[in-house]
Symmetry: C2
Subunit: 600 residues, 2 copies
């Protein structure tokens, strides 16, 4: 049975030594977050994830969710108690407005807790996770009365939330959606239609479920410009805040899926359900995108999270499993065989995960800090710069962290040999669970298109220009540092390839967008590598500085040496991939578009 | 629900136009295999796979196998009838010795049928597949009496076979195995021990099951030099060939696995079961390796097979699913949206599968023909050259075709978006099923080590030298051909990288085997790319020649053009990866070995 230990120390190293979180103390919520408090919060969160959520991960997968004949859904044993503990700990509203009962802490800390919870129990973590997404949208677009009615109860976990976008005939292309909203005399709308793939659409974890639903107001324009967002409570809420009748919304069935079986993925039927417009009519997609962007970062974190827990368990197995002897001679003569961690190919596998995990965690926090600046700063220029980078990095994080996170779950499973294929050992569940993250919240092909088609050219390429400038400044400022040289050389080569690819896309993608589409996946992964390589350069610098200063009790020299070796592995083994990406991008779309559709 | 159409035409193109199977008519079994007969056989096999095996694939996964209280195992509904049809068609003994009821046809045709059956129903195909492996070992190492007793009934499918190697504490390292064999007065042995992960170990598809079991004769040397191979029938066979008592072997439990649920993976308990030594005492591993090598090629074919069926279904979905509009403007104005096959990134995905599938199929047949020469030729030099290449290519095929086959199942699933994650659509089953092929018959890390540690240096590098020479001759002979130039240029660059990597391994891997181990996975995949690139060069040449000659009714110009485009895609998008592999290999083992085990 797998285990999990939340990487609190690694997070503290990133927040304190790499990103110097104290620099952000002028932002609301950061002043309260002293290093000691952060450590206390994260340790508390770690305990909850390790001791309450993780033990339910395998049983939750085995039991799954059950839709009962009355349309209610029963979640796996223990989920209700765990949800109570999660809510009681204040974790749902960790970063929410204190005026509604939240703790107002940095989004960055929310991202950390997101990693811990997703690693411990991905299926479970989606219940509070979706509620947080719905809350973000509500806080930005809801009326004061709507916020007052719904936010405190969602923050306390008394009510949970969902997002209802997809319909049977439309997922990516929301312009096709058919669910309709008919205005009623009382100012509400009657919502009718069918939504599919609704995570946490129905369950027994809260007394009410607040659905955010995209629908088209009668007579609204076709396409994406006629879509509005509605709040549709499962149980109607009376003027005094107490619960009324069951709304005309029900779970028609739940999907039988590859994984995340502990989360109920529902077909939701709306039969004239009473809904309330949130934000402006016909601007529902904008309101939903607030939720989507936050959700995309949350899904990126899921990729990292599964990779981390898979790594931890693969390491434990590799140290424990005795099989064969080291290529360079017996290492454990007292045993019948050496532990398989003596083998370079096993280490290659493990370090591939670790070098990704540590850099991906850094990139999540680097981006989350930009999200905090973008949303909490008073400094217009800083806000804009942060928002640029957040927009640029969101599709990269979502696409790359979930693609690689899944690959890493597969790699970790491979370390177990035949045992990796057996359910009992739990490694195959990580693979099945991680797979969804590449699909939902915008399939990764869509992320890649968003990157090359929207985020790159936006505002004359302001964001990518700033990204290149930041790396270039770092390279220049540290050019003389010999200890950093291996990290910088790899980064320099990678960023050079990325610049060439960017130029190629500008020259060839504007006139023929198929060239941009044909290179989008490679470009996204290339940018991911460069961003992760940049994180390694930052981390190596911080680790070297800390070593030079005398590491101290919190992180001894062995840990810092391991970090430096892991970063070197990334530079040697992972960065070279940028050249292959560049070669592929440069071939353009001609060959693939020349194939007649009927000849596939 | 997925569908499947066996690629008979593509196989005929390979056999007739690319590999000129008529050149092999001097070999036993080939003379009978006229082009017409081959087409008739393959079409018959295709029908069986499409109409009988494939419809049971999804239901077999859903139902799984059930162990009953009496230790018997019930396979999914329909499997018994399908097995009867498979056996009645003569497919188990397709390539077996006619003296025992086989059809004596080329192994190459067996490999083709292996692809069709595995694509249609991987879990089912393992029942006859393991029997064929056991038969191969029996025919080579069994006594005449043993062959007479077991082979005809296995060829007819009355009895099926298994391989029993793994024990709880040993898989890769068979030297640790503990199952013991105690000589009995009647010349038989009493076998006692526990075997795990035994595919098809118990089932209801045949009246008897013939287990081949590795065990250690009492007093035999420790390690791999004290292992012998035994025939252990589930039901004892009397002298007159009729069935006797149940032997002391039973299925203790069946594993709950990630996939191939239609195949029973058993824990087998031997409690003094009566077994018969097969081959020489203490040379059991040699005898087993006959089976393993054939099994490894069979598993390689499984990787290709799942990739092919996944491709076919992803193409159908991509043509059917309407979502969004083409980047270059509306393509289907009469519809609410364009089919997603208009998108370059979807095409990139699909062509990645197709360019692999067609080349992998060619490489399987190229290698299978060498297997036929190695085992059936009378020409010593030809046999040795073929055997060299077979030995070199077996780990490459097993490792690369199963790694990429799995990745391709994941890619195909991605084309379906959210629907790919839902069991009903069947795409996630391909992913779960394909996953096992990377693990069993020697995990792919072991294949890579076998390649760089054994196959490369064997006989002074004779095999790899011959491989380079063959490609080099082909490049020279076709250097002036402009139409072939794009295929040859990519191959030349790839083989250049592979030669550099080979040299690096010779210079750095002999003194420090960790350097070889650290590069083994990259080297294996690099060699796979070069071998597949070589197949594309051969196929492009044949397609161009066929086009020039006027394609004819069997394969029209559109099909040949599609093949040429697909090969160009491979050259442009897949071959560039060799440079990244080379860069990684050249960094050696120092970084990964420097990490202390306790710091992972």
């Amino acid at each position: 049975m797998p285990s999990y230990k939340a990487p609190v120390d690694d997070v503290l190293f990133l927040l304190n030594d790499v990103f110097h979180i104290e620099k952000y103390s002028n932002l609301p919520g950061f002043a309260d977050a002293s290093p000691d408090l952060i450590e206390a919060i994260l340790s508390e969160g770690a305990k909850l994830c390790e001791n309450v959520l993780q033990p339910l991960n395998q049983s939750g997968d085995r039991e799954g969710c059950v839709r009962n004949n009355d349309g209610s859904v029963t979640t796996p044993k223990g989920f209700k108690v765990a949800m109570q503990a999660y809510a009681d700990g204040g974790w749902i509203g960790l970063t929410s407005d204190p005026a509604y009962g939240g703790q107002g802490l940095p989004y960055t800390l929310g991202a950390v807790m997101g990693e811990f919870a997703s690693a411990a129990n991905l299926a479970f973590s989606m219940y509070p996770g979706l509620t947080q997404g719905a809350l973000a949208s509500l806080m930005q677009h809801g009326t004061p009365a709507q916020k007052q009615t719904f936010a405190p109860n969602m923050i306390s976990g008394k009510w949970l939330g969902t997002m209802n976008l997809t319909e049977p005939h439309c997922g990516t292309d929301l312009g096709l959606l058919k669910t309709k909203a008919v205005p009623q005399a009382d100012g509400s709308y009657a919502i009718t239609g069918q939504k599919i793939f609704i995570s946490a659409g129905e369950h027994d974890l809260s007394e009410n479920i607040i659905h955010l639903v995209l629908a088209r107001i009668e007579g609204a324009p076709k396409g994406t410009k006629g879509i509005s967002l509605f709040i549709v409570p499962k149980i109607e809420v009376k003027a005094d805040g107490s619960l009324g009748a069951h709304n005309a919304v029900s779970c028609g069935s739940i999907e039988h899926k590859m994984g995340i079986n502990g989360n109920a993925t529902c077909v939701m039927n709306y039969d004239g359900a009473r809904g309330f417009l949130m934000g402006e009519a016909n601007k529902g997609l904008n309101a939903m995108f607030v939720m989507m962007n936050e959700a995309r970062l949350g899904v990126a974190v899921q990729g990292l999270a599964v990779s981390e827990v898979a790594y931890q368990n693969a390491v434990a197995y590799a140290k424990d499993r005795l099989q064969g002897r080291a290529l360079t001679g017996v290492k454990a003569p007292e045993k019948a065989a050496d532990p398989i961690i003596v083998h370079p190919d096993v280490r290659r596998n493990l370090l591939t995960l670790r070098a990704f995990n540590e850099a991906a965690r850094a990139l999540v926090l680097w981006t989350a800090l930009r999200s905090d600046v973008a949303h909490r700063s008073q400094d217009g220029a800083a806000m804009q710069a942060a928002d640029d980078m957040l927009g640029l990095m969101t599709p990269v994080l979502k696409g790359v962290l979930t693609d690689v996170g899944f690959d890493n779950a597969v790699r970790a499973q491979q370390v177990f040999g035949g045992h990796g294929y057996i359910k009992e050992w739990g490694m195959e569940q990580f693979v099945r669970d991680a797979r969804i993250a590449m699909i939902y919240e915008g399939a990764n092909g869509i992320q890649a298109l968003d990157l090359v088609g929207r985020k790159l050219p936006k505002d004359g390429g302001r964001a990518i220009t700033a990204f290149f400038a930041e790396i270039s400044e770092f390279l220049k400022a540290n050019a003389g540092d010999e200890a950093l040289a291996p990290y910088l050389a790899a980064l320099k080569a990678g960023v050079g390839d990325l610049q060439k690819a960017t130029l190629w896309l500008m020259q060839n993608g504007l006139g023929n967008p198929d060239n941009a589409g044909a290179g989008s996946n490679d470009y996204m992964h290339m940018m991911g590598l460069v961003a992760l390589g940049y994180m390694w350069a930052l981390m190596a610098k911080a680790a070297l500085a800390k070593k030079a200063a005398g590491a101290g009790a919190s992180m001894d020299a062995k840990v810092l040496d391991a970090k430096l070796l892991t970063g070197k592995f990334f530079a040697e083994r992972m960065m070279p991939e940028t050249s292959a990406h560049l070669a592929r991008i440069s071939t353009g779309a001609a060959t693939m578009m020349a194939m007649p559709a009927d000849m596939f």
